[in-house]
């Protein structure tokens, strides 16, 4: 549902950043597992909106989902959480943790394939 707005932002940024490319073929994204955005919904809206922009028409999104990761303030270890939204240290069970990964949605790279 609200992914339609975020895909609008995504397309704006891709268009700005890809000025030097003839066409956009792949867009590499990192999507945090602890955000409100769903991978499938982003793909759905992107595929229906990209055709309005010739430079994006043949592009695909490659979305890497980044699991939640915590840094434990007690045992100092960093770990991927064992279950989505269970925010504690899997090593020592402490709840005294900071979430260090899984909260962001980032555009990493935009690629153009060049056939020589």
């Amino acid at each position: 549902m609200h992914e339609s707005a975020i895909v609008g932002n995504l397309i704006t940024t891709i268009l700005e950043e890809s000025e030097k490319l003839k066409s956009v073929d792949e867009v590499i994204l990192e999507l945090g597992d602890l955000t409100t955005y769903k991978k499938e919904a982003i793909e759905f809206y992107y595929d229906s909106m990209k055709n309005h922009y010739p430079v994006l028409a043949s592009s695909v999104l490659i979305i890497n989902v980044i699991p939640g990761e915590v840094e434990c303030l007690d045992c100092k270890k960093t770990s991927i959480i064992t279950e989505k939204f269970m925010i504690f240290c899997p090593e020592c069970n402490s709840s005294n943790v900071n979430i260090i990964k899984g909260r962001d949605f980032v555009i990493k790279d935009i690629k153009e394939k060049q056939n020589v």
Binding site: M1, E17, F85, K113
Partner: protein, 240 residues
């Protein structure tokens, strides 16, 4: 023959090169930058900014009304985010609270641009608290920065005690969770023990406060908690 394009070059010799633009930008970068500016501008003015979140009808406006019995209404400014109408603005003005109404029309949450535009046209002289009542919604406003110093989620007993499990994202950033309509705990069989356990799994550091419209004094503890959080944020430099 190359299977991909039909050219005469053997697959192995078919040079496929990619031009790459390394972007490395958050999709919310523009919003987050403006939110950062609002965060600092309000801190410099010693105005503590609270993002008040919760479902439609959770009791967000009632909480602000309740607080105004323990924090002077003259020290509170409110930004009201609703899809339509200025009903909540009128309600708060009856309690003597300075309120600015934003109508998002179809927008399911506030963003920092909307808040910034509101702040530009508001007079915050003498205010200690800016409470932003976000659009009633447990999903879309989660994680969207609007310049707030803290998130406060209003979660009413009538919504059921399974909400932390079903809508964890809204609870993850909350500094304070208000269990509102606590007068109805027994009426709706609200399982408080389970609720507290589930919420601590998602957000172990959260402070939980119970309020009831039927008991004006229940907002006193909340007022104290907010005062404390205000001093903590405004007294410490550049930590967010």
């Amino acid at each position: 023959m190359c299977e991909d394009c039909g050219c005469e070059v053997e697959k192995e010799n078919h040079l496929e090169e990619k031009k790459v633009v390394n972007v490395n930008k958050s999709i919310n970068e523009i919003n987050d930058h403006l939110a950062h500016c609002i965060w600092h501008a309000l801190k410099d003015k010693e105005i503590f900014c609270i993002n008040l979140l919760g479902s439609p009808g959770a009791g967000k406006t009632t909480v602000i009304e309740g607080l105004s019995k323990f924090i002077s209404p003259s020290e509170i400014a409110v930004v009201q985010g609703d899809l339509e109408s200025d009903i909540d603005k009128k309600r708060l003005e009856e309690s003597g609270i300075y309120t600015y109404q934003i109508n998002t029309h179809s927008g399911c949450h506030l963003n920092s641009d909307m808040v910034n535009k509101a702040l530009i046209s508001m007079n915050l002289e003498g205010k200690k608290y800016l409470i932003i009542e976000n659009v009633g919604n447990l999903v879309c406003p989660a994680g969207v920065k609007i310049g707030q110093h803290m998130d406060c989620v209003v979660s009413s007993t009538t919504e059921g005690s399974d909400k932390p499990k079903k809508y964890p994202v809204i609870f993850i950033d909350a500094s304070v969770v208000i269990i509102s309509k606590s007068d109805l705990i027994d009426v709706v069989d609200f399982d408080e023990e389970m609720y507290l356990r589930d919420i601590k799994n998602i957000n172990p550091k959260v402070r939980i406060v119970k309020t009831s419209k039927k008991d004006a004094s229940s907002f006193k503890e909340l007022a104290h908690v907010l005062e404390h959080k205000r001093e903590h944020v405004l007294g410490h430099s550049h930590k967010h």
